[in-house]
Symmetry: D2
Subunit: 281 residues, 4 copies
Amino acid sequence: MTTEWVLTLSCPDRPGIVHAVAGTLAEHGGNITESQQFGDPASGLFFMRVQVEASTGRDELVAALTPVAERFAMTWELDVVGRRLRTLVLVSKAAHCLVDLLYRERYQGMPVEVVGVVGNHPDLADMAEFYGKPFHHVPVTKDTKAAAEGRLRDLVAELDVELVVLARYMQILSDELCRDLEGKVINIHHSFLPSFKGARPYAQAHDRGVKLIGATSHYVTGDLDEGPIIEQDVERVDHSRAVADLVALGEDVERRTLARAVRWHAEHRVLLDGHRTVVFR
Amino acid sequence: MTTEWVLTLSCPDRPGIVHAVAGTLAEHGGNITESQQFGDPASGLFFMRVQVEASTGRDELVAALTPVAERFAMTWELDVVGRRLRTLVLVSKAAHCLVDLLYRERYQGMPVEVVGVVGNHPDLADMAEFYGKPFHHVPVTKDTKAAAEGRLRDLVAELDVELVVLARYMQILSDELCRDLEGKVINIHHSFLPSFKGARPYAQAHDRGVKLIGATSHYVTGDLDEGPIIEQDVERVDHSRAVADLVALGEDVERRTLARAVRWHAEHRVLLDGHRTVVFR
Amino acid sequence: MTTEWVLTLSCPDRPGIVHAVAGTLAEHGGNITESQQFGDPASGLFFMRVQVEASTGRDELVAALTPVAERFAMTWELDVVGRRLRTLVLVSKAAHCLVDLLYRERYQGMPVEVVGVVGNHPDLADMAEFYGKPFHHVPVTKDTKAAAEGRLRDLVAELDVELVVLARYMQILSDELCRDLEGKVINIHHSFLPSFKGARPYAQAHDRGVKLIGATSHYVTGDLDEGPIIEQDVERVDHSRAVADLVALGEDVERRTLARAVRWHAEHRVLLDGHRTVVFR
Amino acid sequence: MTTEWVLTLSCPDRPGIVHAVAGTLAEHGGNITESQQFGDPASGLFFMRVQVEASTGRDELVAALTPVAERFAMTWELDVVGRRLRTLVLVSKAAHCLVDLLYRERYQGMPVEVVGVVGNHPDLADMAEFYGKPFHHVPVTKDTKAAAEGRLRDLVAELDVELVVLARYMQILSDELCRDLEGKVINIHHSFLPSFKGARPYAQAHDRGVKLIGATSHYVTGDLDEGPIIEQDVERVDHSRAVADLVALGEDVERRTLARAVRWHAEHRVLLDGHRTVVFR
């Protein structure tokens, strides 16, 4: 029986990496179906993503790859193509991102399994439940913020969560939580970062009279609105659009930008290169 | 004999403006071929652009429109559709914007007449001359900056210049000159403003790891990189692009963004609404 | 009390139309907030869409406009801005367009009221019901086609349907039904028409090796895939995409193309100009 | 001294190809800087493009790769990265594509060397000469068509032409010439193929009322407008655009579509997969 594996790795760049990896995979009967590499002259790092069909088991593959990984000082990961990442979605009142993610899981084969939805408001409980997802109402006030974050940590642990998606979640996570979940939390920011950081970006955009509005999906770090960017997109607007129109128009670009970032992350297409990302689409 | 006129106006918004204008034009035999209006709730201003065919002469039309304009406290302008604006282009070493503007004047009927090209470097003299444009080499150093600006003022006066285009001109105009030519100077900034203001925007963009690079064409005011935006556009990039690649890719988005802004300005499609623009495309 | 009205009209082009309409509206206390005109030299027709605030009632406005309409031989329509069009959505098994339309009605203020969903398969009943929409399962076989179409006609009549949306409905309506509902049925075709007419357009597109796939939303006429186009959009693809990928990628461009067409139709922004459309966005 | 080589290959897909190629390159001191692969399930073919830095000479690399190529029955090519392809550009009267190609060669480092420009009209001689390119006026009438084509063949031979670009050349090449130059002639067609094949595509597009116009760059085969597509792009239009506007707007999308196709071809990024192309961007 054949499995399709996806191997991702990064390491200091030097000759022989592709040959060593391809050779190890070939020795164990692997047939490479898709492969991408990138050497970043700025960071001196090399990045690779390989999909390979093999009848070899996970343990055998890991055993074969470990010495190669050690020799080249690789950070690496091996997963089964299409395995669905256990995902927790955090929302407030805005529906558009949640609706789109649940639709894409159920109808479009996006490789995530939403194992729960957390809302600091109860508004989206019915949507979560329609898609068969447990909804957790975790209100946040100044006084309960620490307790609420404790509840989030518990859910991440109990549900074996691999990915947290902030789907227009209007609360700021603590630096400590951001650090503990680094590389596992994806946010959608409703502007073309680094333009219009901070609050009310559409009002800022309207005030500045821009001709395109944008959205940015990025990993969350302690440094608000400064995490590594995964995907950005824009939508054309004109003078006739009021702030409320920008908000409504922005929903489309937000949901598609977030959906692409989540899909690419779940397909192991996004690798970290310092505070930048390599995205093998 | 029939002429096609373009009338642009702005004034405080109140009922009856369209009716008064359309009525005055109809009384003088005008047939409206294109018309756009916009009332800005934020500024309380009303904007209108009308193209009208009429056999009436300019004096008669102005005489007819003047009382209407006074009644509604209009800022207004009347021009012949397609009249070419006398334009001075300022350049440094980069060719892409100049090449594109001269091509569009000669081959694409963009309604500008470039009456001269000024370069603080001599590199683009041959291109200007190929298109039959006088090239003025006006070097700028710290010591000669004031004199150079005097030369610019002289050229604007001598050549009856109506529009100045900064086509990747790498010198900053003085506040005084900016104020004196307000509304008549269009710049192309090589970033998606307000992101990456200031120097070396592509290096900033690369460092931030953005997934789209952009360009912004705007009127020049004393406040650097803050003038009213006319047009913006973006181009998709990925992790594999070095700073030099972003610069080269950026040239395409810069030249098309600037060309649109210049064309719309020359067609009297851009009206000022405070520090924002109304663009009737 | 003030109402915002939207007036749309078309008529043979001649001088004085704007003046006559604006004058009539002004006489009845109307304040024009948005207005667009277009004269088509090819067909000789003039098109106009006006939004006007007035405290006048419908009867008074109709009485005032009727003589103007007669004088210029106008086809015209007057509606309240934002009134929701009674809409019937027809589906088969594919969910993406239905999910998007129901989401946009509920969360994005798209001015339609879906009064029922008809499926020739039962698959999407749960989605319709989640959004509180009656679902009618009307199977279609060769033998029952006429009866099924009778059922559609009954639903259109019983529910006072103003707009029928074919949201990836995989059955072809009879010529007679198309004619009877002309101008009231919007379809989404999964190709960039007129490329790849007929069945399996994504397989055709893959076979031809195109670099962009598209979707076309159009009014349905008896002439299959030939009705007036309202909106088109495309998505970039490359050699690595199999037919199944094109189908999945195509869902995004289909749903947004259809949503725009439905919104513009419901906002009375689409006027017929022979077998072409004028879209006042 | 190090050279950067680009190796492109295609062959029947089977395990071990990447390993064999990477191994051979590694044995000869090559360091892979960029590599892309694709296996086409439809055709059963495997495609690969590798950029590799090596101090090895051409003969040694060819000798090392030849047995690998034979073992896997590869079609393959080895070139130096950045070597400029000797290119002949054919034009008629329209300037936009020629202007853009010459600009990109001179200012943007596009790896072509235009060794001559052929026009069946003399209009563009001055542009060619400004860029220092010999212009050959080869008029074509019904009677001189064969002789003119003979002149083209002579120029291709005399000038060691590797690539012929039809930059809005309004003559049809004979089937025989197409076959003889197969894979070496790139055309720009002014529609989104397969829509609007044949003459006057913008008039056809206007008549159909499309909302996007497009351009297609493709290899020329004997089968007119049916050669393998390299690149396509579109531009948004609306009802207000007459045929002449579509032609002018189309020039922008034509020149950028053709420029991308020529660049990718010259960078050895385009591989033939039957009547489709694999483009490793």
